[in-house]
């Protein structure tokens, strides 16, 4: 699953994590790759600002639940660097990564959906 929005479109960020939770909750090993503005979904103070209202849970709840369920989050390092985000700013459970990690995951045959 790739998510490219947070501040720019809280609705898409929220939906991305709803689907990620559905996937992980269905016992499918799930990777969320955050790039572009989506990297803010892994920054606690930024994710806390996104709440689309019912029927959707706040983004922070969705992200925390995904990590608790064993979901994996990779965060694009150049996208972080561009925005002045460091490893220490990320929620525990999110890992800085990049193209090679994403390509390996996809080339192993994983289906993917983009938000």
């Amino acid at each position: 699953m790739t998510i490219t929005h947070c501040k720019t479109d809280g609705d898409k960020a929220t939906l991305g994590f709803v689907v990620a939770n559905a996937a992980q909750g269905s016992e499918k090993e799930t990777l969320v790759f955050l790039s572009s503005d989506g990297v803010y979904c892994a920054v606690p103070e930024e994710m806390a600002k996104i709440n689309e209202g019912g029927p959707f849970a706040p983004l922070k709840d969705l992200v925390e639940k995904f990590i608790k369920a064993g979901g994996k989050i990779y965060v694009c390092t150049p996208c972080m660097k561009k925005r002045g985000i460091t490893e220490n700013d990320l929620i525990e459970g999110a890992t800085p990564a990049g193209g090679a990690a994403l390509v390996e995951w996809l080339s192993n045959g994983s289906p993917s959906v983009a938000y």
Partner: protein, 85 residues
């Protein structure tokens, strides 16, 4: 944080990824090793915070052997299965 002391590894050559991240490190590394012989021991230095995930993934995909890693240092043996015996 990273330890910046170079581990006691034997290597033939060195590739420093500099301040580059993500696909830039990968393609530069690919171009660097492309014409090098199998079995060569290459010390890769990458301060990309993603490197601990990226370089193992790249090695698995390209069948280079990650013999050791201690971020920002990575010891890679080039395509060991291609060595002629």
């Amino acid at each position: 944080m990273t330890t910046d002391t170079l581990p006691d590894w034997e290597f033939d050559d060195e590739f420093d990824g500099g301040q580059e991240t993500c696909g830039r490190v990968i393609v530069n590394l690919y171009l660097y090793i492309r014409d090098q012989p199998s079995g060569r021991r290459l010390l890769v230095i990458s301060r990309d915070p993603g490197a601990p995930v990226e370089l193992p993934a790249w090695c698995r995909m390209t069948r280079n052997k990650l013999a050791a890693m201690q971020h920002p240092y990575y010891l890679i043996i080039l395509k060991p299965e291609l060595i002629e015996r």
